[in-house]
């Protein structure tokens, strides 16, 4: 029945592609980021535009401008940087101050290095010193080719990234997981072969394949694209200013903040107004309503889905067929949980282990009743989190 193959491993034919620098970028920021630029300020490529207010070494990275330009707008979720206007007659052109390469990177170690990485745009929130490290070398989702492309074309950068990681976090055992039948080794890690069929490519299952333990608490996991980002900072000694994005059959190095519209146009990708577009892969991606959205550094793909290709998901009744149970990698009962959520029985979803859900989307994918199964589970999780928050607020007030 499954006409779509969920294999993620492919033979990479093309090389990593470059795109021309866009004139205008819209660099996404998160709510934790604090913009440190003003409107009309002239910026150089690599200059910090938003900071993470934390003083610690672990957290989301700072945000940097990916082009020389002028700040056009500061929005809650993005900073728009446009081309510097031509100088008026008699005035001198304003030079954009670009930062110098950071030579300290080679000498620092441990938490100091970690803090430096954070300041240069690397997200360090998911790392812990001295834990074992699993590198997820599987392509994250079907049609998203970034991991295998980078392993083919950016070995030196990955190696540099791993060396920096080793200096910063002193990990124990480092294991690299690649698809069955693929040969790849990275400086000093043990290579483990594992299934490449989605959802086996999601982090907890890759950790299981590498260590044989379910949700062990002494293992950190990092994707190849995240490792590449660290390697890029380590080799260029410049802040992180690009994302590696899979569009169609090819993989591109994209300046952060490049709009989806620009990316699709420069890559010559066909799309129509009745298509759905999402950032990241087809199973976990976030759909965008507006092509003016900028690419975040963590983005791995732009997915296009023609409307009408798949049956529409609707709030149909569950028919108890059990397909979702057989597809679920977390061994929970998505169908039952979705019905609890449908009828506001959120306590029951908790006792039936909704927390084990990986949000891989397989339940919705296989559902013959075309129910939004995972969406119900997400609703339940959100409700439970809100309840917990309400309870803890009450306790604080006591």
């Amino acid at each position: 029945m499954m006409k779509l193959r969920l294999n993620t491993s492919v033979e990479i034919k093309d090389t990593l592609q470059e795109v021309p620098t866009p004139l205008r970028v819209r660099i996404p920021i998160e709510s934790k980021h604090k913009p440190v630029v003003k409107k009309k300020q002239i910026l150089g490529r690599g200059q910090v535009i938003a900071e993470n207010s934390t003083k610690g070494a672990y957290g989301i990275g700072f945000v940097h401008s990916s082009i020389d330009g002028i700040v056009e707008d500061i929005l809650p979720d993005a900073i728009v940087i446009g081309p510097i206007p031509a100088p008026k007659e008699g005035e001198e052109a304003v030079a954009a101050p670009r930062p110098e390469p950071c030579s300290e990177l080679d000498s620092l170690g441990n938490e100091e290095l970690c803090r430096k990485l954070l300041e240069m745009g690397v997200d360090t929130s998911r790392f812990h010193a001295t834990r074992n490290l699993v590198i997820n070398g599987l392509n994250p989702e079907p049609g998203v080719l970034v991991s295998e492309q980078l392993m083919k074309d950016a070995q030196e950068v990955l190696k540099a990234g791993l060396q920096v990681l080793e200096r910063a976090f002193k990990p124990g055992v480092v294991k690299l997981v690649v698809a069955n039948g693929k040969q790849f080794s990275l400086h000093g890690c043990t290579t483990v072969n594992a299934s490449d069929v989605y959802p086996a490519t999601i982090d907890p299952l890759v950790v299981y394949a590498a260590t044989g333990a379910e949700r062990p608490d002494n293992v950190d996991v990092i994707s190849i694209s995240a490792l590449y980002r660290i390697g890029l900072v380590a080799t260029t000694k410049l802040p992180l200013m690009e994302a590696v994005v899979s569009v169609g059959e090819k993989v591109y190095r994209v300046p952060t903040g490049m709009t989806v519209q620009d990316l699709l146009d420069t890559t010559g990708t066909a799309y129509g107004t009745d298509w759905k577009l999402a950032l990241d892969g087809p199973m976990r991606g976030v759909a965008v309503s507006d092509l003016g959205v900028g690419i975040a550094p963590t983005c791995t793909a732009v997915t296009l889905v023609q409307d009408g290709l798949y049956p529409p998901v609707q709030p149909n009744p569950c028919i108890n067929c059990g397909e979702c149970v057989l597809a679920c990698p977390a061994r929970i009962h998505p169908g039952m949980l979705s019905r609890y959520a449908e009828f506001n029985m959120f306590e029951s979803t908790q006792s039936q282990h909704v927390g084990a859900c990986f949000e891989c989307g397989m339940c919705t994918f296989v559902c013959p009743a075309n129910r939004p199964v995972m969406q119900y589970l997400l609703l339940a999780k959100k409700q439970l989190a809100a309840q917990d928050e309400a309870v803890s607020t009450c306790r604080l007030q006591d």
């Binding site: 919705t364 994918f365 559902c367």
Partner: protein, 318 residues
């Protein structure tokens, strides 16, 4: 400015996943209809116009009853997913070809109302609707459902009734091959063993039917049948006979795996199937009905919630 032009165009959004396997209830049911087509053809070949009448009334009544009840319950009509038609035909397969039209209509209406609609429609029922419809008729009008009595106009034997009332010697002439080809009397669809196997194999090849329940059900029949046969081969029929006679195969491939009334986890599915298979033999051996399969299905259905209590630990759970 380019960004302003863009912002006028809004794209439709959806929550992930954006892909879908493409499976729909309607497609599944159309494949099921295709799978039971050989059974229908063979039934018509064996029983002629009588079989056509029974199947037509059952299919028609099932669809109409569902539509009427849905109207009353203010539900959206779902006749176009063909599940009612499939249920109606499966129900007809359990009846003798000469069943009177009024009984077929009444039985189908009961099947749809008691087996489906009172639980909210297809997929909500804790029991297998066609088996339930058959049970209602078998208890209310035993003579009109009795295969031996109803099929007197054909000069053949009904193996299970012969075994029940005249012992093992009466069926010595019944070969497995004749059972496979439906050359004996029986329920109009359930006795077309080979065609049912073909239909079941088709559904399995399309991934619409999992092997767990059919295989464990047939294993249950074989194991229990072998035990009795081993105790006294002069008294109890061979397991192969039980496997191919009556509605064992229809139960294995179409009625036991009925989605809402069967368990969902792997181990419970295996236990459920095996339990149902054993019950078939026990009811055939000790019960008052020649064919125990529909009652065995209903009994196993009632145990489904118990089987489904056997759940694996969630990933990473303690």
């Amino acid at each position: 400015m380019a960004s302003q032009d863009i912002s006028k165009k809004m794209y439709s959004v959806a929550s992930a996943p954006l892909w879908h396997s493409g499976a729909t209830l309607q497609k599944n049911m159309l494949h099921t209809l295709l799978a039971i087509l050989p059974v229908v053809a063979m039934a018509v070949y064996r029983y002629g116009y009588d079989a056509v009448v029974v199947m037509a009334w059952a299919g028609f009544t099932a669809v109409v009853t569902e539509a009427v009840v849905q109207k009353i319950m203010k539900q959206a009509p779902t006749s176009d997913d063909f599940s009612a038609l499939v249920d109606g035909l499966l129900f007809a397969f359990l009846l003798p070809a000469t069943a009177p039209a009024w009984m077929v209509i009444l039985g189908t209406a009961f099947m749809v109302i008691l087996g489906r609609m009172v639980f909210g429609g297809y997929g909500g029922s804790p029991v297998c609707a066609p088996a339930l419809g058959w049970a209602v008729l078998a208890i209310s009008w035993p003579d009109l459902v009795d295969l031996n009595g109803m099929l007197l106009k054909w000069d053949l034997i009904e193996p299970l009734s012969e075994l029940k009332y005249f012992g093992l010697d009466a069926i010595s002439s019944v070969t497995p091959m004749s059972l496979l080809l439906g050359e004996n009397l029986g329920a109009l669809g359930a006795s077309q063993a080979l065609m049912i196997i073909i239909g079941g194999a088709y559904l399995m090849s399309r991934g619409l039917l999992r092997w767990f329940i059919p295989v464990s059900f047939l294993a249950g029949v074989l194991v229990a049948g072998s035990i009795y046969n081993f105790i006294d081969p002069q008294l109890y029929a061979s397991p192969t006979f039980h496997l191919l006679s009556g509605s064992t195969l229809l139960a294995a491939f179409f009625l036991m795996p009925y989605p809402s009334s069967s368990p969902t986890w792997r181990l419970p599915m295996l236990l459920f199937g095996f339990f149902g298979g054993v019950m078939v033999i026990i009811i055939r051996t000790y019960g008052i009905y020649p064919d125990g399969a529909p009652f065995a299905i209903l009994l196993a259905n009632l145990c489904t919630p118990l089987f489904d209590l056997i759940q694996p630990k969630p990933f990473g759970g303690r």
